[in-house]
Symmetry: C2
Amino acid sequence: MTASALFVDLYEIAMLRAYFELGMAERRASFGLFVRRLPQERNFLLACGLADLLEELRALRFDDDDLRYLASLGSFPTEFLDWLARLRFTGDIRALPEGTPVFANEPILEVSAPIGEAQIVETLILNQIGLQTMLASKAARMVFAARGRAIVDFGARRAQGFDAAVKGARAFHIAGVAATSDLAAGRAHKIPVAGTMAHSFVEACPSEAAAFEAYARIFPRTTLLVDTYDTLESVRKVVALAREMGADFDVHAIRLDSGDLLALSRQARRILDEAGLTHIEIVASGGLDEARIDRLAAAHAPIDLFGVGTEMAASTDAPALDIAYKLVEYAGEGRMKLSPGKRSLPGRKQIFRQFHDGVAVRDVIAREDERYSGVPLLEPVMRDGEIVKAPSSLADIRDHARAAMAALPADVRGLAPCASPYPVTISLRLVEYEREVEASLARRTWPRARQPHLTRCS
Amino acid sequence: MTASALFVDLYEIAMLRAYFELGMAERRASFGLFVRRLPQERNFLLACGLADLLEELRALRFDDDDLRYLASLGSFPTEFLDWLARLRFTGDIRALPEGTPVFANEPILEVSAPIGEAQIVETLILNQIGLQTMLASKAARMVFAARGRAIVDFGARRAQGFDAAVKGARAFHIAGVAATSDLAAGRAHKIPVAGTMAHSFVEACPSEAAAFEAYARIFPRTTLLVDTYDTLESVRKVVALAREMGADFDVHAIRLDSGDLLALSRQARRILDEAGLTHIEIVASGGLDEARIDRLAAAHAPIDLFGVGTEMAASTDAPALDIAYKLVEYAGEGRMKLSPGKRSLPGRKQIFRQFHDGVAVRDVIAREDERYSGVPLLEPVMRDGEIVKAPSSLADIRDHARAAMAALPADVRGLAPCASPYPVTISLRLVEYEREVEASLARRTWPRARQPHLTRCS
């Protein structure tokens, strides 16, 4: 799905016109994308969404319809719109590889481009990287809680719109989710798809037993939904069906979708095992979040696969990130915002992740040209508007995510808030640079001649 | 944005194949869409998203790419796929007009169609009506809190993807939000757009004063952002600029985006008023939710307009609805689900809203063919797959929403959870019908011959 170039806030285009009129539009600027604070419920985020973003940026252009709409707003003269028609994204981007754990204040990506281009992609970048990063981070918790049992995404119906559902399935898969129920997502991102029957099928059939038999014959390796009327009675119908069908019976699993999943899974397992149906797996679904999955897995519930919908699809406990895209450099000089609670680190940066015995122990945010011990995380992904290398396969990104999460300290990977957050430090040179930029901004912002109250307010 | 027909869960297509093979696909069925429980933080929901949904349904078809993908899954034979290629949505829909307040268990819409068609639109309907209803319901709270001051949607960057941002802006506008910052939404839904400058513009300019002067000259009726460095100093720069520019100065507003908005708005108002700039309005933004807006409005903060982003864009306190689409009738017979906590009311229904002195006092959920006192809320919107009448204009829907919300009891309209929820009752005939259907399902579901444990379990 490629967005219209009009997926942008009006003020970005207004600023672009101002840059154009002031002769600033071609001056080079750098912006950094970062999360100011982790959500309380997260010990780390999983960077995600880059491949889709790069495709959007490469395709970015204002078409005739866009320009006509802009003209209709009455704020944009023809000369500016003609220039806008020719505008392409020609910038450079350095970014964390998708599937990399990231912490507060660390750049997820940095854009360096003529300021007009760097500015007008703000809405797009925040929305798209924010979406997939938020959803991948949530899914990582589900996968962790399941302790090796499979998680399947059932969330398309509860995701916040088409885009969230389809890109969410991708983000979930990167975080370790096995499959999705949504066919559009499966096709778009080559993700395995899964799903069998709803209650309505059972209800429409002459009887539950008839519904089961029909499915078992039409889709031999199917999963039968057993909670429409009475769960354990249903499981006994599956057993009866196995006896009736004999060698033709190849049902793969049953699905529990309501009630006390721990008790029901144990009772269902016993009924199946006593009938010799030890190979039939148990799928559980119905309002599952990572806490419930954790409790079920900790109690050794005989559940082989969890189907997860709402809680993962909308990241309900943390449905938005405090993500920001801020100017860090303009025409070679550092820039930062001083607003209370919203300060940003100036200049282009690099993150170094330091390991001890294979475990990540500390990140250092440094200036871009610094050499530091540890693995530098930001790498070039776009140069002059062109994607630097072919995107990694989803399987490779998934492998990277798995390895990178496995290298986090155990408490950071875990569901509970860390007693002490993962240590992220700032290099001495970056701290010094921040002071310099702040001092220079203070000089430039409150020139004596105009603002006699400087000494009182600064 | 029209979705692919593949925006559907795999199990819907699997059931469709089963209906096809069993000769059931053309049997008529009815499904009802409803919310099982209101989110704790909501006293009512505002039904929304119907117009977009009807367009999706009218356009629904499986194209060659879709069919090739389905064939690749290995579960769908050619004969079925050929039939699927010809499938169109030919059903009837009765629905609440958009902008109608709705409560738990009340049908938002009912679909009557051959069961295959009614089944495969489940994912689409849940996702799309769920999205806009959730977002309109959240926005209604913002508008209520603002007590007549304008709310503007700044949320595109924090919405969960493109679709949520663009359709969200529509839902917000229906709920009473004045304008959106997102141009794609403004164009798609003919919503007023708003927005002026970001901190990055101020930071890129040689000085804040220079940034203000540039904007005031390029966009005379602009809003100046005053919190990049020091808010009150910035407001004084606006005053200084007014003196310098004289008759050319026509700045419309200033925007506060951080800090103590109550104190700052009062101090800024005083500075502006003392300089004779009483006509300059004050816009406030920065992490606003309805509780903060309510406190500011209750304290008579001199704020003329609230810019709202994250909290509204992702409905952060209730980011998903417990919305369900359930079979209520098949081949003329009532159907319902008996799973614990997930029961549904059988049969096609009508809602009657009863008023006393212009205030809604009670809803009655009745069988479709009942006559009851009060206003029937569900109306035909689609017949044989065709939209029954031209969609209402957004302005008309907005007017309907305003009037319908104004007719709710004061505590239901309010932000605090109602001490006693709005009364929704079920007609005697519907209660009796529910018992009949339950009894008939019990007979059909546990036939004696097959299930000797009936007496123990039923």
